[in-house]
Subunit: 203 residues, 2 copies
């Protein structure tokens, strides 16, 4: 039964994604993954041989999706500023859908960096993601201000990614204060980041 194989594999990957995202490589339990996939623990090994191998597949998928969001930087039909704006929309929508993505990636990288270097190199060469060189070009052409590109890229990613990373903290800090608070939502966040970018890159 070919179709049923696919389904099982898919169900496992789905359950594994959830578990690894939440608990990381060490914290996640194979039993848990099996239960959530509605199958037996032994089947996990039948399909993926080991926990680490299963993890690798999940991780690679996540990383690749993350980098896909940066493809827009290579869209030469748009002016630089527009590309960045579009990236902001993309990445915030994406992280909104997978709020634990950044956490997941950073968490695992901080434990094993070697593996990551290799994968990033591959992905970047693959997809030609070069915001920094893009900025430098823009500066040479005189289209944007002479800010430090590295600091700018840091700031940009910070503003987009951190709110999702730290949402548990924000919720705790703000909800525990007297003033009742509500999530400002993605649109306000996007607008604020774009304001920052426009301010920063204006000549």
């Amino acid at each position: 039964m070919q179709s049923k194989d696919k389904n099982t594999e898919q169900k496992i990957l789905e359950a594994a994604k959830t578990a690894f995202m939440k608990y990381g490589l060490y914290g996640a339990r194979m039993q848990d993954i099996a239960d959530n996939a509605g199958i037996n623990k032994a089947l996990l090994h039948y399909y993926f041989r080991s926990k680490e191998k299963l993890f690798d597949q999940v991780f690679e998928g996540a990383l690749s999706k993350y980098f896909e969001q940066m493809l827009v930087f290579s869209d030469t039909s748009l002016p630089v500023l527009e590309r960045i704006f579009k990236y902001i929309d993309n990445i915030i929508d994406f992280l909104s859908e997978y709020p634990q993505m950044s956490m997941f990636i950073i968490k695992e990288i901080s434990v094993d960096q070697e593996m990551f270097y290799e994968k990033v190199k591959m992905l970047k060469e693959d997809k030609g993601i070069h915001l920094i060189s893009l900025l430098k070009e823009g500066q040479e052409k005189g289209e944007i201000s002479n800010i430090d590109p590295v600091v700018f890229v840091m700031n940009l990613h910070s503003l987009c990614a951190y709110p999702f990373l730290a949402s548990p903290i924000f919720k705790a800090i703000i909800s525990s204060s007297a003033s009742h608070w509500e999530d400002p939502g993605n649109n306000k966040l996007k607008a604020s980041v774009k304001d920052f970018v426009a301010f920063r890159l204006a000549k």
Copy 2:
């Protein structure tokens, strides 16, 4: 030997801090902690009874230190903008000294939120940290612009904390690109964040 006890306890806490920061509650190994503290595994239990109890002490210490950085918000001798600037200096210096702090706190919170809510409430009431209400006051007095305080606080923390959180990513992404790159350093980061704050709060 009272003094020797203290030393051992201190050495354990030091080693535990390192291990838990790097590997988290699940990933860290008691054997590892014992080795690094230069003592036997059994002694860990003699002093702290269980891994979780040891972890709790480390975590609480870290959280408390983190929140201490916000004390400056209550310094009524300074104008609001100055307090925020000072906070930026504080927090960036602090995170620079303990780069894995944010990671550590967020990582563990994302697994167990309940525990965190309680602790934050205590710390906040303790130290009277109210940047948001501070901003609202400033707005009522007409000292600062009418931005959304919540978004602003998000942005502020993002800019300060994320670079340390994600430094493994940044290193990988940027160092794997053709252009050789160097860390812009804390001063540039501080300056950039302050620029943002000044821009955001200007009427």
